[in-house]
C-alpha cells in the first residue's frame, strides 16, 4: 500500500531532463566576500516597484530600509551592505534595459553585521500585522518567480488554509540551493515552517522533496520532533515537480482549478528558501538582503553554492568562482529551463536569483529547426495538458486570439514542450510572445 502511494506521488506528463546537479550538490554553502558596488533595482518581481526612501549621499546600514512597498503587491528593499548611496536613478536590469534602482557603495571598514535587536516577536502579532511584517521584510518567493510572500498569506474570508506545503523539489537542473539549505539549515527551515503554520492556522506542514535528494529527506526527518505536525513527502523526480500546482497534485492529489490559486484548495505553498528567510527575519532580525545562489554550468571554473548579498554584480560572483572558462557564451539567472538570460556581467543579483549558470558555445550552438511532424511529444510533456504544437503554430501565424480559446493563459511557461520537441521548435518562446502580446494589447476604444 505504501509502495503504491509512493508510485502515485506525482503529477501526470512532464519531462526528465538530466539533473546536472553533481557539480555543486556536495559543496557546502560559502559566503561571498563583500565587494564595493551594489545595485538594488526597485522592481524585482511582478507587481508594483518599491519607492526609494533614501537619497544620494545618504549613509545606510546593512539591513536598513532603503525603499518601501509601492502598493500591496510590492515589497520593501533593504541595504545589503553598510555604505553610502551613490545614486538613485536608472541602472541596467537583467535584460539590459535601464530600470530605476538604488546604487550603494560599500564602506570598506564597516563590520557588515546585522543588529539582532531587529528581531520581531512574531507570536504577539495579529495575522494582518504578520502579513505587513513579511512585506516590510522584503520577503518574496525565493524559488525563482519572486512573487511577494505576503500576498500569498492574505487569505480572503471564508477560505481556510489546512496545509502549509514547503517546496523542496528543486526540479530545475543544476540548481542545488534548496538542497543545501535543507542539509545545512534544517532547524531554520523547521522554525520558519512553524511560524508560518501557526500564523496561517494550518493543521500540518508538508515538505515535498524530490527523491534524488535522499540525504535532505533523511536530515529533515531526523530534525522533526515527535508530535510535531510536519511530514516529509518524497516525490518522483520529474520536471516541473516544483511548479506549485503540480506539487499540490503530487502531494494531495488535488487539482487547483484553472484561474484559481492554491489557497482555493486550502494549501499555501512556499519555497524552502522563503521559509528560511521568514525564520531569519522573525528570529534573527535579518530582512531579505542576501540569498543562496548556485553558480554552476559548463562555463564556470569553480562551481559553488554561495550566500550572496543582493545587488552584487554577477561579475563579482563569477570572479569569486574563478572566472568564466574560455568559450562561455551565455549566462542564465535562475534554472536552465525557466531562467532569464543575463545581458551583461554588470547585472545585479536579484531576490529571485536561484542560480547563475554559465553555458558555453556547445550548449548554445544554433539548433537547426525542422518542420513540426505532429509527433505529439509536446502534448505528452505539457503538465497542463495543453496542445503546445497547435499553440506554436497559431503563434507563428499571429493568431493570438484563437490561442486564448485554447487556454494559452493556463500555460506556466515551464518549457517542457520546447525541451521535448525533436524539431527544435521554440514552442514556449512562441507561446510567451503571444501571451505578452495579448496582455499588453491596448483595449480598442469603445
Amino acid at each position: 500500500m505504501k509502495a503504491l502511494g509512493l508510485l502515485r506521488r506525482s503529477f501526470e506528463h512532464g519531462v526528465h531532463p538530466a539533473h546536472h546537479k553533481g557539480q555543486t550538490a556536495d559543496l557546502p554553502i560559502q559566503r561571498v566576500p563583500f565587494g564595493s558596488h551594489y545595485v538594488m533595482p526597485l522592481g524585482q518581481h511582478t507587481g508594483v516597484p518599491a519607492k526609494a526612501v533614501v537619497a544620494t549621499g545618504e549613509r545606510v546600514d546593512r539591513g536598513q530600509l532603503i525603499a518601501e512597498p509601492g502598493g500591496f503587491v510590492s515589497t520593501a528593499l533593504h541595504s545589503p551592505v553598510t555604505g553610502v548611496v551613490t545614486d538613485v536613478g536608472n541602472h541596467r536590469d537583467v535584460d539590459g534595459r535601464f530600470a530605476p534602482a538604488i546604487a550603494i557603495e560599500a564602506d570598506a571598514f564597516a563590520t557588515q553585521a546585522v543588529d539582532p535587536k531587529n528581531a520581531v516577536d512574531w507570536q504577539s502579532l495579529s495575522l494582518d500585522e504578520f502579513i505587513s511584517a513579511v512585506q516590510m521584510a522584503g520577503i518574496v518567493g525565493l524559488g525563482g518567480a519572486a512573487f511577494p510572500a505576503h500576498v500569498k498569506l492574505s487569505v480572503p474570508d471564508g477560505v481556510r488554509i489546512r496545509h502549509l506545503l514547503i517546496n523542496g523539489a528543486e526540479c530545475e537542473p543544476y540548481l542545488t540551493t534548496d538542497h543545501r539549505l535543507m542539509l545545512e539549515r534544517p532547524e531554520a527551515l523547521l522554525e520558519g515552517a512553524e511560524i508560518m503554520r501557526q500564523k496561517l492556522g494550518a493543521e500540518e506542514t508538508v515538505i515535498g522533496v524530490e527523491m534524488n535528494k535522499p540525504d535532505a529527506i533523511g536530515v529533515l526527518r531526523k530534525h522533526i520532533q515527535r508530535g510535531q505536525p510536519v511530514r516529509v513527502v518524497p516525490l518522483k523526480v520529474k520536471y516541473p515537480q516544483g511548479a506549485e500546482k503540480m506539487m499540490i497534485k503530487s502531494v494531495f492529489g488535488k487539482e487547483v482549478p484553472a484561474g484559481q490559486l492554491p489557497r482555493d484548495v486550502g494549501v499555501n505553498v512556499n519555497n524552502v528558501g522563503t521559509i528560511v528567510a521568514i525564520a531569519d527575519y522573525f528570529l534573527r532580525g535579518m530582512p531579505l538582503i542576501e540569498r543562496v545562489v548556485t553558480v554552476a554550468g559548463p562555463g564556470v571554473t569553480y562551481p559553488a553554492n554561495l550566500v550572496v548579498p543582493l545587488g552584487t554584480p554577477v561579475r563579482d560572483v563569477v570572479k569569486f568562482c574563478g572566472g568564466l572558462k574560455p568559450g562561455s557564451r551565455e549566462i542564465i539567472m535562475g534554472g536552465p529551463m525557466m531562467g532569464r538570460p543575463v545581458a551583461s556581467l554588470d547585472v545585479p543579483i536579484l531576490k529571485g536569483c536561484s542560480g547563475i549558470l554559465v553555458f558555453t558555445e556547445k550548449e548554445t550552438a544554433r539548433r537547426r529547426e525542422y518542420p513540426c511532424i505532429s509527433c505529439g511529444r509536446c502534448l505528452e510533456a505539457c503538465p497542463y495538458f495543453l496542445n503546445p504544437s497547435r499553440l506554436a503554430r497559431l503563434s507563428r501565424s499571429r493568431m493570438f486570439d484563437e490561442m486564448k480559446e485554447l487556454n494559452v493563459f493556463d500555460c506556466v511557461e515551464c518549457g517542457s514542450c520546447t525541451f521535448a520537441c525533436p524539431s527544435n521548435i521554440p514552442i514556449v518562446q512562441l507561446i510567451r510572445t503571444a501571451k505578452d502580446d495579448l496582455m499588453h494589447r491596448r483595449e480598442p476604444d469603445a
Binding site: 487539482e255 557564451r329 536552465p336 529551463m337 551583461s344 525542422y370 485554447l406 520537441c421
Partner: protein, 339 residues
C-alpha cells in the same frame, strides 16, 4: 588593458533539449525497417534491392527537384524521402518493373508531400499515396506476384523488373496468388508458420511478420512510435475476425491469419503510425487505429479486393484533422473539455 567580457547571447530558456531530433527519428525508422528489408532480400534476392533502390531514387529525386534553393539541403538531410521510398518499395511486388517503382516514389513525394507544403504538412501518407497511384495506373503489374527466387539464387533478376518504360510487360513469369488472394478467391488457407516467417507470395516487405514486429519493438523502445495505433489496429482486426468466425468458421479467416497475412503488420506498425498523418492525441490514436482495423476487415471480407490496408489507412488519414479536433485532452484544472 582590461580583458574584454565575452559577447553574451540572450537565448531564452529552456536551453536544454532531449537528445532526439526529427532526422534521427527518421533514421530510426530506416533502421527499424532493416530486418524486413533483409528478409525481402533473402526471399527475392537482388530484385528486392533493385525495386527498393528505384523507389528511394524516385522519392529523393522528387524531394530534390521540387525543393527551393534554400530548402534543397534540408529535405535531403532529414531523410524523410528515404523513409517514404523504402516504405513504398516494401509494399510492391518483387517482380515490378523498376521504372514503375521509380515513378511511384516520385509521385508519392510530389503529390503526397511536396504540393502540401513539404514535411509535416501532408494529409496522406506519401508512401501509400504513391502505391495508390501505381495500383490505379498499373493494376496488372501491381497484382502479379512472383514466388521467391529459391534455387535460382540471389542474383537471379525477375524478367519483369527490367521491362522498359511504357512497354507492355509480357508476363510469362510464373505468377501465383498471395495468401489473401488464395483465401478470398480459392478458399485455400496458408499455414500460420509460413505467414510468420515469410514462405509466402506477396509484396517485398509483407512476407515476414516476425521481421516487421522486430522493427516495431525497436521503434517502441526508441519512443518513436505511438504504440496505441498498432495495438488498436491489431486488436480490432483480431476481434473482428473472431466475431466473424463465430458465424462461419469455414468461410472467414481466423484472427491470426488476419493479422499475419497481407500488409497489415507493415501498415499498422510503419504506415498508420506516421506521426504527420495520424492523430496526436492519445484518444485520437485509439479512434484512428480502430477505424483502420474496421476498414481493413470490411474491405478484405466484403470488398472486391483481397487486401485493404492501403485504402483503410488513406481513408483514416483524411479523418485525422477532425479526430484531433474533437479529442483534445482535458486541460489541467478545467472540468469541461474544450473543443
Amino acid at each position: 588593458m582590461k580583458k574584454r567580457d565575452p559577447d553574451l547571447l540572450l537565448f531564452h530558456a529552456p536551453l536544454l533539449r532531449q537528445g532526439m531530433t526529427t532526422p534521427s527519428a527518421m533514421r530510426d525508422v530506416v533502421w527499424a525497417l532493416m530486418p524486413a528489408t533483409a528478409a525481402s532480400m533473402w526471399f527475392f534476392g537482388i530484385s528486392a534491392v533493385l525495386v527498393l533502390s528505384s523507389c528511394i531514387a524516385g522519392a529523393v529525386l522528387a524531394e530534390w527537384l521540387f525543393a527551393t534553393k534554400e530548402t534543397r539541403g534540408e529535405s535531403l538531410r532529414d531523410s524523410s524521402g528515404i523513409v517514404t521510398g523504402l516504405l513504398l518499395g516494401l509494399t510492391l511486388p518483387p517482380g515490378l518493373p523498376l521504372w514503375m517503382g521509380f515513378l511511384g516514389g516520385f509521385v508519392g513525394i510530389a503529390l503526397g508531400k511536396v504540393i502540401w507544403g513539404g514535411l509535416g504538412h501532408n494529409l496522406f501518407n506519401p508512401a501509400l499515396l504513391g502505391r495508390a497511384f501505381l495500383q490505379a495506373t498499373f493494376p496488372i503489374a501491381m497484382t502479379t506476384w512472383v514466388p521467391a527466387t529459391g534455387e535460382a539464387g540471389f542474383f537471379a533478376v525477375y524478367p519483369g523488373n527490367l521491362a522498359l518504360p511504357f512497354m507492355q510487360v509480357s508476363v510469362d513469369a510464373m505468377s501465383s496468388a498471395t495468401p489473401l488472394g488464395l483465401m478470398k478467391f480459392e478458399q485455400v488457407v496458408t499455414p500460420l508458420s509460413d505467414l510468420a516467417f515469410g514462405k509466402i507470395n506477396g509484396s517485398l516487405g509483407e512476407t515476414s511478420g516476425v521481421a516487421l514486429l522486430l522493427g516495431g519493438v525497436y521503434l517502441w523502445l526508441r519512443r518513436d512510435l505511438d504504440w496505441r495505433i498498432p495495438v488498436s489496429i491489431l486488436a480490432t482486426v483480431i476481434l473482428f475476425s473472431a466475431c466473424l468466425g463465430l458465424f462461419d468458421a469455414e468461410r472467414f479467416p481466423t484472427p491470426w491469419f488476419s493479422v499475419f497475412s497481407g500488409g497489415l503488420l507493415l501498415g499498422a506498425i510503419y504506415m498508420a503510425t506516421d506521426p504527420v498523418t495520424s492523430p496526436v492525441t492519445p484518444r485520437g490514436a485509439w479512434i484512428f487505429g480502430i477505424g483502420v482495423g474496421v476498414l481493413v476487415m470490411l474491405i478484405r471480407v466484403f470488398g472486391g479486393l483481397p487486401e485493404g490496408v492501403m485504402y483503410a489507412i488513406l481513408l483514416m488519414n483524411s479523418a485525422t484533422p477532425l479526430i484531433d479536433r474533437y479529442t483534445q485532452p482535458r486541460v489541467f484544472g478545467r472540468g469541461a473539455e474544450s473543443p
